[in-house]
Each structure stands twice: as C-alpha cells, then as structure tokens.
Symmetry: C2
Subunit: 133 residues, 2 copies
DNA sequence: CCTTGACCCTCCCATGATGGGAAGGTTTAC
DNA sequence: GTAAACCTTCCCATCATGGGAGGGTCAAGG
C-alpha cells in the first residue's frame, strides 16, 4: 500500500503522514526498492486514530501520549481519562475566551446604527479604554 | 518616547510594534540620530486600538481595515458593523467547533471508569469509526 | 572621563499543524 | 516508448508572537 492510498483510506494527507513520521509520532515504514513507503491495514488504523484525536482537538504531543496508552495493554483507564479531562478543561478555556470576545462584540455591534453615518460605537469601543466589568 | 515606554503604555510589546511597522500596519516612526524609534501619545492610542481589536480576536488583516475606517471621517458605520458581524460569525463557527469536540469528549469521558483497569471507552471511541449522529 | 546597566538596533530562528511547490525518480497503462 | 499518475526530498509559507545573539547608545554615578 503506497502512501497515497493510505492517505485516502485514513483521512490523513500524505504530507502529514510523512510529517508524523519525521517527528516520531509514527514509526518509519518499510520501503520498496525504489524508496516508496509501504503501509498496511494496521497503519491505516493507527492513522485513523490520530485523525480522530486531531478532530477532537488534541495536540500532537497529547496524541503521542494517547498512542502510548492505546498500545499498552496494562494501562489504567484513569490515565486516559485524566488526559481527556485536561483537554476538556482546555477546550472550556478556549470556548470561554471566544465567548467573551463574542459577547463584547455583540454588545458593540448592537449599539451601532449600521447606516451611512460615520458615528460608530464599535470604533469608539476599540478606541477607548474598556469599561470596568 | 522610546519604544519601550510606548510598549508599556499601549500594552503592545516592542517586538510587536516593530513587527506591525514591518508589515505596514502602522507607519514608520521618526527616529533619533542614533536610530531609536520615537513615538507620541497618538501612537499609543493607535497601538491601544490595535491591542483591543486583537483582544477581541480580530486578525491583523481585519484590523488593517478597521484602522482605515477609524481614520476615515467619511466612513459609513455600516462598513464597520459588517466587519464586526463577519467576525462574530467567525467566532460562532469556532465556538461551535470547539463545543462539538467538547461534547463528544465529555460523552466518552463519562463512560470511562477511570480506574486501574485498562478498558477505556475513550480509546475505543478513537479507535473505532465515529457512529452516525 | 569612564564604567555600568538599561536601553535600543537588526537579523535569524522557533512555535504548531498544515499545505504548496520545485526538481527529479518510478510505475503503470496504453 | 511515452504519458500520466505516482512517489521522493527539500524548501518555503501561513499566523502572531517571542527568544536570543551581536552590537550600538544613553544616563547616572564614581
């Protein structure tokens, strides 16, 4: 199985497969005489795992830990859960930060006429010190 | 006013002030004979504007447009509002994406015992195809 | 006058995850 | 035998930000 087919089957681009190999997230594959990387079904599984973890917003360093737990039959599920919960906390923080931006912006936008006149509370809000909460 | 004082007063680091100058977001400042950048109160205002827009999550290219509207006395507030609303939509998309990740992860984490045993629905969820919604 | 410390300058490099593209080799199908 | 569709490595770009090297400047105190 060449890298292109593997990419299609796993949902991870060929570029990224090579990159993951270069940073040691996946092992170096075997090669044909011509130097083509060769993959097997189990590599597709692994890449799909990575792909799904990425889709859930895990960073590659966390995925490295997840992979190590995944391949360890003696793991404690508590370790996995701890990783997941830390990531949930991280997502919460990002969601909160974005929500706060959104709320401020909505407040400003609501106050703006949005017509041909130049008066604009949005620009004023950006130009003046933020009011105390 | 040297760059360090300007940085402190505006909340934009000296590094970033130089960077904003290099990409043309702010005009090149005057210099002393020794080559030191010189700033004035109005530059601090400008940088504070940029800082606040960044805090609201605007990208530098959008801030470029905001600055151009800010400095245009003949602007229409509708143009500002359009920028703001586009950005709100962008924030919404990002919040939604993160919330979806969070929801999936919370579901998986809830099903996980989190003890010494290796069975872990989180790892299973990552290893198996996502179920249809 | 000279030193010291706190500034400032430019230039290069790094982040994280991903993609684009060049230059060149391989395989496959017609 | 040739063209298309692969593959390889290597370099560069994104976006906003910071770190640090190597070197110049300025002000205060001895």
């Amino acid at each position: 199985m060449n890298i292109g087919e593997t990419a299609t089957a796993s949902g991870v681009s060929a570029k990224m497969i090579r990159h993951y190999e270069s940073i040691g997230l996946i092992q170096t594959s075997s090669r044909t005489l011509a130097g083509y990387r060769q993959y097997h079904e189990r590599d597709v599984h692994l890449l799909r795992f990575i792909r799904r973890a990425r889709d859930l917003g895990f960073a590659l360093e966390q995925i490295r830990q997840l992979l190590s737990l995944w391949s360890d039959p003696g793991r404690a599920s508590a370790d996995v859960k701890r990783l997941a919960e830390a990531h949930i906390a991280d997502l919460d923080a990002r969601i909160d930060a974005l929500s706060e931006m959104r709320a401020t912006l909505v407040t400003l936008a609501r106050a703006c006429h949005g017509d041909h006149r130049p008066d604009c509370p949005i620009l004023q809000g950006l130009a003046e010190p933020a009011r105390a909460p």
